[in-house]
Amino acid sequence: MTVSDPGNMNEALRKRQFSRPGESVILFILTLCAAVSLVTTLLIVGVLVRESATFFEQVSFKEFFLETEWQPLFEPISFGIWELVAGTLLVTFWALVIAVPIGLAAAVYLSEYAHPNTRKVLKPILEALAGVPTVVYAYFALTFVTQDLLRPAFGADQVNVFNALSASIMLAVMILPTIASISEDAMANVPRDLREAAYGLGATRLEVTIRVVFPAALSGIIAAILLAIARVVGETMIVAIAAGSTPQLTVNPFEGVQTMTGFMLQVGLGDAARGTVDYQALFAVGMMLFLITLAFNVAAHFFVGRYREEYE
């Protein structure tokens, strides 16, 4: 019970707070500031719920969740969300296939193999990838990855100008630092005793890494991957520019797909008239996107909390 804990300081200073009239004004202003973030959440939820409700007055839940055709602009009009969800799933899947092995290998190297000085140089460079605006990655997906890499490698007749794989490759670059950096933190936090015990029993560095450090850091690694998924699912520019705008159910990454975010941007750009069904579809899809990213973020925080509990 020291004074340095602000919680107790509150009690200690309760009387003094009112001895200066300005003090309660300041407290009021600060409380208002803190209220802004709560209001932001309420507004996001409020806007999404209200406009989606109007959407679902015109389009039934059954159509939204059971139809497989997403065709909001041409006859026959159909609002089956699965084509957009499938597009998102396809780009997310390939992004993870690329980024998870590379990201984890980089995390293992930085945490278990690298000299501290090497680590000090390499980690910030890797993390700099997270600071690059995603529109830059989108430009590369469309130009370098599609034009110079995929089409020459697999044939222009095989690879669409707009294809899911080019988006996935740049999404993988985008989430590489998230996966590598958070996993590295988790591995570096594994207590030294565990490693020493394994070495004492004659394990090699690779065995210690795979059989001791990796399982011990698993919660943190899962959290890193969940956060990365949330970022990929919510990313707009890369998929909107590189993956195209053809909603379809396909598992072929060389074809173009439309994701949930891609559709939302299309409506935003198309200047759809307020009150029309396709304008309100923006909010219904936005609601789906909000719930999916929220679920992954909440799950990630749960796993982060778990690994802290185990070893701290």
Partner: protein, 306 residues
């Protein structure tokens, strides 16, 4: 002969295990270098494509149908004004929130809710902030597709991460400083104002600058609120408007474009020669983003030495 008899030699399985362990180092190193070299390669490719288009004219020209004549002028004006609005409207609120959480908030469930809420808001996709801005600022508040609507939208987007960074900075201040002030009879706010904040400012600035650098590159949210327009004037108040509040305000209500949106527009242009423009614009934007990151790093290092 004698020396050979005492040399220890691992055999069979042990040799294989040690070899696998040594080899794995190069595998993991390779993965790390792959990630690091992507950054270098992207930088090289951009400069290779875009450097020839970089010139003073490129910065001062308006967009054009001809790639060689097209320039970034309105986009640069738009980005600068938008950042000004974003900074002015978000930073005080973010720092105020951080101070409230760390120094004033009652330790109860409300605080837990505020903290969880901030963590979740930081993870909300930027396009959702875009439709929030579209509904609240553009439509409901009647700001139309203006600089103000864009700046406020970006402000809501960066407040959560700025708060989290500022909290971190405030927590780094040794409690003894606060305790000392309080022991000498300072009120809570006096202790915060004169002892905590001055020591937390470098950390707060670092976090704030990094948030701003995120806002500089933000594209999706601004496209949602209608920043995708062909603009042939300088968005924002002109020099003559500074003396006249009404004119200044009218300038903030002008429509706009920003550098990342111009990059988007040139990237999706089917004419190949516009790709060089996109690359050149990326060089300009990354120069700005990197300057901000460098500034943040310099402030952080200065602070650490003291």
């Amino acid at each position: 002969m004698a020396s050979e008899s005492v040399r220890l030699r691992a055999g069979g399985a042990v040799v294989r295990r040690q070899f696998a362990s040594r080899a794995s180092r190069y595998l993991f190193l390779g993965a790390t270098l792959l990630g690091v070299s992507i950054l270098g390669f992207l930088a090289y490719d951009t400069v290779d494509t875009g450097a020839s288009r970089l010139s003073l004219d490129f910065l001062t020209n308006y967009p054009s149908r001809f790639a060689e004549k097209a320039g970034l002028r309105p986009a640069i004006f738009g980005t600068l004004w938008l950042m000004l609005i974003t900074i002015v409207s978000s930073i005080p609120i973010a720092i105020g929130t951080a101070i409230w959480i760390e120094e004033f908030a009652p330790r109860n469930r409300l605080l837990t809710i505020v903290k969880i809420n901030l963590a979740n808001l930081a993870g909300v996709p930027s396009i959702i902030y875009g439709i929030l801005g579209l509904t609240i600022f553009v439509r409901f508040a009647g700001m139309d597709r203006s600089l103000l609507a864009g700046g406020f939208t970006l402000a809501l987007m960066i407040i959560p991460m700025t708060v989290i960074a500022s909290q971190e900075a405030i927590r780094q201040v040794p409690p003894s400083l606060r305790d000392g002030a309080v022991a000498l009879g300072a009120t809570r706010w006096q202790a915060v104002r004169h002892n905590v904040l001055p020591n937390a400012i470098p950390g707060i600035m670092t976090g704030t600058i990094l948030s701003i650098s995120r806002a500089v590159g933000e594209t999706a949210a601004l496209l949602m609120i209608g920043g995708f327009t062909f603009i042939r004037f300088d968005p924002g108040p002109n020099l003559t408007d500074f003396a006249d509040p009404a004119g200044f305000w009218a300038g903030l209500e002008e429509s706009f474009t920003v550098v990342p949106i111009q990059i988007y527009a040139w990237s999706i242009d089917s004419r190949r020669e516009f790709q060089a423009n996109a690359a050149a614009a990326i060089i300009v934007m990354m120069a700005g983003v990197m300057a901000l990151n460098l500034l943040a790093a310099v402030i952080r290092e200065r602070f650490r030495r003291n």
